[in-house]
């Protein structure tokens, strides 16, 4: 349960740098946790850079309030900074964990504000979907976003992302399967977290493919399925703090990622997305 993960018993964080429990060495998640535990300010900055769009985007989606979303973002990062050992890398990815923590806290806040049970339930349901989407691996989320929100055919998406049509079909099918898994049978009104509200473990796996030529940190597009709804005429008013209207924001540069998932083809077991891709990136 994400709630338990967030407030569960403290695990000891080793004083030596994690060596990794798998053949590929420590994952990015494990390393950052270790660095947070030993009080590296730079680790806090890197954590923010990678996950702020996820945390802030999710908080904003649920709370629908700019100031409250910022406040919650502060609290979520402060929680991990103060209690780095509350995250357990063996239970899932840091991305999933932060998504779950954010959703829980946001819903808690909503509960104190809303007497209206119906609205709360509706938002909780939406939040579940949001965080499930937000926790999708980047290539899946990106492919879904481009296809769905731009109303493209998969052939157009493939062209745009520079991937094969076959990969496009696979990614979309897999993305929706993962979403369906996470959203389960709970239905729209489901409020309680079943611990699977966000994807676990395997969700980061596809990026673990060392052939993945993309930056792991393309985490940049966290929660972008809901962000990337652009149309040729969409000018995204107020996107920026300055409130300046900008031209339609096209999608980020795609990754030419050879994409594999246990369910859809040969896969490699290995550390999480980030650890492996980091290692791959080191040589570049």
């Amino acid at each position: 349960m994400a709630a338990a993960a967030a407030s569960g018993p403290r695990r000891a964080v080793p004083s030596a740098a994690p060596s990794g429990t798998r053949s590929g060495g420590p994952s990015w998640d494990e390393l950052i946790q270790w660095r947070l535990a030993r009080g590296e300010e730079t680790a806090l900055g890197e954590l923010y850079d990678r996950f702020a769009p996820l945390v802030h985007g999710l908080a904003g989606c649920i709370l629908d309030d700019r100031m409250a979303a910022q406040q919650l973002t502060r609290e979520v990062f402060a929680h991990l900074w103060e209690h780095p050992d509350s995250f357990d890398p063996t239970q899932g990815s840091l991305r999933s964990w932060l998504g779950a923590l954010t959703r829980h806290r946001a819903l808690d806040r909503l509960r104190t504000l809303h007497a209206d049970d119906r609205e709360l339930r509706a938002r909780a349901g939406a939040a579940r979907a949001q965080s499930a989407v937000a926790a999708l691996p980047d290539p899946l989320r990106e492919t879904l976003a481009v296809t769905y929100f731009d109303g493209r055919t998969y052939q157009e998406t493939a062209l745009r992302l520079g991937i094969s049509e076959q990969d496009t079909k696979q990614r979309i099918r897999l993305g929706l399967q993962l979403l369906a898994d996470q959203l389960g049978d709970g239905g729209q009104g489901e409020e309680e977290d079943d611990g699977g509200g966000v994807l676990r473990g395997e969700d980061e796996q596809p990026d673990a493919n060392p052939a993945a030529g993309r930056p792991p940190e393309a985490g940049s597009s966290e929660a972008r399925v809901c962000a990337e709804r652009t149309s040729p005429t969409h000018t995204g008013p107020g996107r920026r703090e300055t409130g300046l209207a900008r031209p339609a924001r096209p999608h980020r540069e795609p990754a030419h990622t050879e994409f594999r998932h246990p369910g859809l083809g040969p896969t490699e077991s290995g550390p999480t997305e980030s650890g492996r891709t980091d290692a791959a990136g080191a040589g570049t």
Partner: protein, 387 residues
């Protein structure tokens, strides 16, 4: 596999895109036909349709740029860092994060825009990914001092390449007078890294740059001696100044990219801006010396060249302050030297001037005293710029 089996597999692979309404009409019709006959696919199709229906079109808020510092401050107030970022590396950490947030929003078309990077010797025209190569190549000069690898393939570090065309001479902040060492590879390093990364996705280039900038800040926090020498080729400077220099350039070029894609880009926070102004102000005497080199005799004066003059510069606005600029040589004149002139200008204008992003004649300057001395300062400032 039988024909039927193959057809089943092929239609099955379409279920995801079918659920998203992303099939061309003909394929969609084939899927629909198949679903009527195949309960297995029908079950999956329903499931995927339901999942697709949960996708929300809500537009989430991007984190505002100011939030990063707020979050870090909030966290650090609750638990101080055992391994803090040194104050001289903080502007670089902040500026690189700001640029990265801009890059996150660039779409494929925007990565193809061409940014203009003026400097006193001309204008470079580069795409955002090339600008990142340039930043990474020069940032890489700090790497040896921190035990990190140089990103530029085959580049000796510290660099000792011969000078290129004289027009490319780069005084640069903290420079020795130019023409002595020549332009040393800042451009050459950049071009080499650009060539090396020419086939890379912009996202990969961004990651390469970001990864190094994170590593540099981490190196600064973990093991840095702010006085460690960094060889820029044309000058050797202490690491703490090198970080400031890189923060300054990251801001200026981030702004160049932002202009190219028509996004807003905020100036550094006042405290950081002040340290950048300070670096430029401290370096001005070298640029003044460079300015004077071709014409050793000041125009309009008989008699011996003036010595030991000082101009008081007041930078206005956030991050502003007051600096005494020695005009006739880098050595600081005695503290009680009376300035021959005072000049007041906006701190941001001064930075843009020093980056050759503004013409001396276009900057609004309050002048008191020896105007010729002030002109000299204004003409020298752009010489601090590099590509």
């Amino acid at each position: 596999m039988s024909d039927d089996g193959a057809r089943h597999e092929s239609l099955r692979s379409l279920l995801g895109v079918w659920a998203l309404d992303a099939c061309p009409r003909r394929e969609a019709a084939e899927v629909a036909q198949h679903l009527a006959l195949c309960p297995e696919c029908a079950r999956e199709a329903t499931r995927l349709r339901d999942a697709a229906a949960r996708l929300s079109a809500d537009d989430p808020l991007d984190p505002p740029g100011s939030l990063r510092q707020q979050v870090l401050d909030w966290c650090l107030a609750r638990r101080p860092a055992e391994l803090p970022v040194p104050s001289w590396a903080a502007p670089y950490a902040t500026e690189t994060a700001k640029l990265d947030a801009l890059l996150r929003d660039l779409g494929p078309e925007e990565w193809q825009e061409v940014a203009e990077l003026p400097w006193h010797g001309g204008v470079q025209r580069w795409r955002p990914a090339q600008v990142l190569c340039h930043l990474a190549a020069v940032d890489g000069l700090l790497a040896p001092a921190l035990g990190l690898p140089d990103p530029v393939p085959g580049a000796p570090a510290p660099l000792t390449a011969p000078s290129r065309a004289p027009s490319r001479s780069e005084p640069g902040p903290v420079a020795r007078p130019p023409r002595s060492g020549g332009p040393l590879g800042v451009l050459e390093r950049s071009e080499r890294l650009m060539a090396d990364r020419a086939g890379s996705e912009p996202a990969a280039v961004r990651w390469m740059w970001r990864r190094q900038s994170h590593a540099l800040v981490q190196g600064a926090a973990l093991r840095a001696d702010g006085g460690a020498p960094v060889d820029f080729g044309f000058a050797t400077v202490p690491l703490r100044d090198a970080f400031l220099d890189r923060a300054f350039e990251c801001w200026i070029h981030g702004d160049d990219i932002a202009r190219a894609v028509d996004y807003p880009y905020s100036p550094p926070k006042p405290k950081h801006l002040r340290s950048m102004i300070d670096l430029a102000a401290r370096t001005l005497p070298l640029a003044l010396a460079a300015l004077r080199q071709p014409q050793p005799e000041p125009v309009g004066f008989g008699g011996p060249p003036p010595r030991g003059r000082v101009v008081r510069m007041v930078a206005d606005g956030p991050g502003g302050g007051e600096w005494l600029i020695p005009l006739d040589g880098p050595e600081s004149p005695p503290d009680d030297t009376d300035p021959v002139a005072s000049m007041v200008l906006d701190g941001l204008d001064f930075c843009r001037l020093a980056a050759a992003h503004e013409q001396p004649e276009h900057v609004l300057v309050g002048e008191f005293g020896d105007r010729a001395a002030i002109r000299e300062v204004l003409r020298a400032a752009p010489l601090l710029s590099r590509p």
